[in-house]
């Protein structure tokens, strides 16, 4: 009886996981078959396989451009957010002052609010200062979600650290900032890394701002570039799917490598928050 239920539960889980994996598998598979057979005789294990679409992706479509752009934008956003955000998060986690709860909920609110609601002024502003289609013109809007996210995650992390060490330092006469810099920060490298990875993921995946504030391949990020592949010439599905695989590869690698950290970061930020 118990074993049967367990088996039933297990098979449901396996089924759901298979359903989750299938679209990804299908994408990889389809990116490796010729354009002509994309919509014909679908089989799970096709042959022959070809790398043609990947070649076209980089040689004809210059796909390294959006990859470079995404790396720069997501990297700079992450760097800025983690630098400023860790200081802020430490104060919010450990120092006592009025308005702390208010600030925390303010940051959470900003992280959750609809991005479309600030697209128009940001566009006008960036246009006025000539930053449309530039890296700073993307990093700045990205901070609207990246900074609150970073702070939120790190507050959760700092709270988990044992307070003894810094208290000792504090009693020794080290100021709050020095305590943070010399004691907390080195201790928090795993947490900082997880936070940086999550911030990077969110920035890498962002679409609306990148679509609104870039105008050409010179500054388009990966998701926007692939989404705009569709053209008058036959929707180049082979190349699109190759692009999908390439765009997903870095995030997939991060996920596989840091799965534990990501999960605990995500859930610490959300559930206990």
């Amino acid at each position: 009886m118990k074993g049967a239920r367990r088996r039933l539960g297990l098979s449901v889980v396996v089924l759901l996981l298979a359903a989750a994996a299938f679209p990804l598998y299908w994408t990889v598979r389809s990116s490796l078959v010729s354009e002509a057979s994309l919509f014909q005789h679908p089989s799970l294990l096709p042959s022959p396989l070809t790398l043609e679409h990947y070649r076209a992706l980089f040689q004809v479509r210059r796909f390294w451009l959006p990859i470079r752009n995404s790396l720069v934008v997501a990297g700079a956003t992450t760097l800025l957010s983690v630098t400023l955000g860790s200081v802020c998060a430490y104060a919010l986690a450990r120092l006592r002052f009025r308005g702390r709860a208010l600030l925390l909920s303010f940051l959470l609110a900003v992280a959750m609010f609809p991005q479309i609601s600030i697209v128009s002024p940001l566009y006008l502003l960036l246009r006025e200062v000539g930053l449309i289609d530039s890296y700073p013109g993307l990093v700045m809007p990205y901070l609207t979600f990246a900074m609150p996210l970073t702070v939120w995650l790190l507050v959760g992390y700092f709270r988990q650290l044992p307070p003894d060490l810094e208290e000792a330092a504090y009693v020794d006469g080290a100021g709050r900032f020095r305590t943070f810099w010399e004691i907390i920060l080195p201790l928090s490298l795993p947490g900082l890394a997880t936070t940086a990875i999550l911030t990077f993921l969110y920035s890498w995946n962002e679409f609306l701002f990148a679509l609104s504030f870039t105008v050409g391949p010179e500054r388009q990020t990966v998701p926007v570039a692939i989404a705009l592949f569709r053209g008058r010439y036959q929707v180049p599905w082979g190349e699109i799917l190759a692009g999908v695989v390439v765009a997903t590869l870095p995030v997939a690698l991060l996920v596989v490598m840091f799965q534990r950290g990501i999960v605990s970061g995500l859930t610490a930020g959300a559930v206990k928050g």
């Binding site: 790396l71 992450t78 760097l79 490298l189 391949p217 053209g231 929707v235």
Partner: protein, 500 residues
């Protein structure tokens, strides 16, 4: 720690990229041109620009790749131009964008360069006029054509009724009867306009009033819908198709008829990719119950970015590309029809085009231009939504078109391009015309030749509607020219034949 090194290198490369952006070659002027990144169009443009640079070693031209889908390209241009980017210097415009871009002050008037306007088809020039000034030079002309399977049929159908009948009774081996562009984009408006024209209707009256809710329009749209669902002549999938999907369908032998532009012809004659090479032909679009058939007038123009740093060099590129020899080159390489009328007498053109040049010329001269108005995009977008709702059976034709018409009227009113609105606002210095005069004089001003005051830098003028009352009418409303049909809303003489 890995992620920490990342940002540093990234920051470095960020700085380097900025530095890289400002380098400059000495003595060489760099200009950029927007254009297709792939296919035959890209190849030929590259060849043409190489030829240009051989003649003009002091100018270097770079192609800024843009999407091929018209709507996407438009979106991109708008983003560039609204952002006041000086790049690209030269823009390849669709025929319907010139008024919008000129009115917004995004492209330069070309009059000072003295373009040879007389050499071009009249309708192509008129589409690029804004307040008497030419803002873009016609590059090539596109007209809708009926592609038909000459191996299965003896002759093309002469009317939409006959076409439907043939498509309906096709053999089972041909899955699709008639394919056209039915996705929700500008191409759908074009398909509809061509049907509408054949049914004797129009979107706008010559005087600028919205007429898209007419009996004829309802019948045309009902015909299109029934061709899909009642007769199974048009595949439902066409409602997600743009030009290339229809071409692929037709060239793999799956359709009997196709509506498409001339670019498809040379591509489908390539037997390595096409299964119908040598087994199809083109014909003028069929007639309908209300009128003879007519194609929508499409095509590309070249304009110069108002914020270009090198307008003079940009103009030299434009003049070169729109010169007679380069137009012939384009006809040979991409099958695109020259915008210069006299080239149709040249024997070289006969070799380059699938259609007899004389016939091509008459199709072009009879083609239906779309309204020349700075709000074309918005008008079209309203119509696209209404049409697509009807064709996907969310709405009935009559109410959908009525709503679309109301919306279009409201739009024209809102932007003060309607006769009434501008007359009311006319200020004291301008004597108010009598009702009928105002209507006649205003109408073309509202749609075909928008407010006078907007010509020169819009920013400078504060009260444009005042000037629209009568100023442009006498000068920009020439009598219908000698062409057999003058399908421009700017020339009320066109009468009932004026589709749009």
């Amino acid at each position: 720690m890995k992620p920490a090194r990342h940002p540093l290198t990234i920051l470095l490369s960020l700085g380097l990229t900025f530095v890289g952006c400002v380098f400059e070659d000495e003595g060489v002027t760099r200009v950029t041109i927007s254009g297709s990144a792939v296919g035959a169009e890209a190849d030929i443009l590259r060849r043409q620009l190489e030829a240009f640079q051989e003649e003009h070693p002091d100018v270097r031209v770079e192609i800024r790749p843009t999407p091929d889908a018209a709507d996407q390209r438009h979106q991109l241009y708008v983003q560039w131009l609204v952002a006041r980017s000086p790049d690209p210097d030269i823009l390849q415009l669709d025929v319907i964008w010139t008024a919008e871009f000129a009115a917004a002050g995004w492209i330069l008037p070309l009059s000072s360069f003295d373009p040879p306007t007389d050499a071009f088809f009249d309708a192509t020039i008129r589409a690029n006029l804004w307040q008497d000034a030419l803002y873009a030079v016609p590059w090539f002309v596109d007209v809708g054509m009926l592609y038909w399977r000459s191996d299965l049929l003896d002759s093309p159908p002469s009317s939409y009724g006959a076409l439907l009948e043939t498509a309906r009774t096709r053999s089972e081996r041909i899955p699709h009867g008639f394919v056209w562009q039915g996705a929700r984009y500008e191409g759908l408006v074009v398909t509809f306009l061509e049907h509408l024209r054949a049914f004797g209707g129009r979107v706008l009256e010559p005087d600028g009033r919205v007429r898209v809710d007419s009996e004829e329009a309802v019948r045309a749209l009902t015909f299109m819908r029934d061709a899909i669902y009642a007769h199974g002549a048009v595949p439902e999938a066409a409602l997600t198709w743009q030009e290339e999907q229809t071409r692929l369908d037709f060239q793999s032998g799956r359709a009997l008829f196709m509506r498409n532009w001339p670019y498809a012809y040379p591509l489908m004659q390539d037997s390595s990719a096409s299964e119908v090479a040598g087994r199809f032909d083109v014909a003028p679009l069929p007639a309908g119950p209300g009128a003879e058939g007519a194609s929508a007038l499409g095509g590309a123009q070249l304009a110069v970015n108002a914020h270009s740093d090198e307008p003079a060099a940009a103009w030299r590129v434009v003049a070169f590309l729109t010169g007679p020899e380069q137009m012939l080159e384009r006809a040979r390489g991409a099958g695109q029809y020259p915008a210069r009328r006299d080239l149709y007498d040249r024997p070289e053109l006969a070799d380059a085009l699938p259609v007899d040049p004389e016939r091509a010329r008459s199709i072009i001269e009879a083609a239906v231009p779309r309204p020349v108005t700075p709000v074309y995009t918005q008008l079209s977008s309203i119509l696209q939504i209404a049409l697509h709702r009807v064709l996907t059976r969310q709405r009935e034709p009559a109410p959908a078109l009525r709503e679309a018409a109301d919306e279009m009227r409201a739009l024209l009113e809102r932007v003060e391009l309607r006769p009434g609105a501008s007359a009311e606002r006319s200020d004291d210095a301008v004597p108010r015309a009598s009702e009928s005069d105002a209507a006649r004089a205003d109408a073309p001003a509202a749609i075909a030749d928008p407010p006078a005051a907007t010509t020169d830098a819009p920013a400078a003028t504060t009260d444009p509607p005042a000037a629209t009352t009568d100023a442009p009418a006498p000068t920009t409303d020439p009598p219908a020219p000698t062409a057999p049909v003058s399908p421009s809303p700017a020339a009320p003489g066109g009468g009932g034949r004026m589709g749009v």
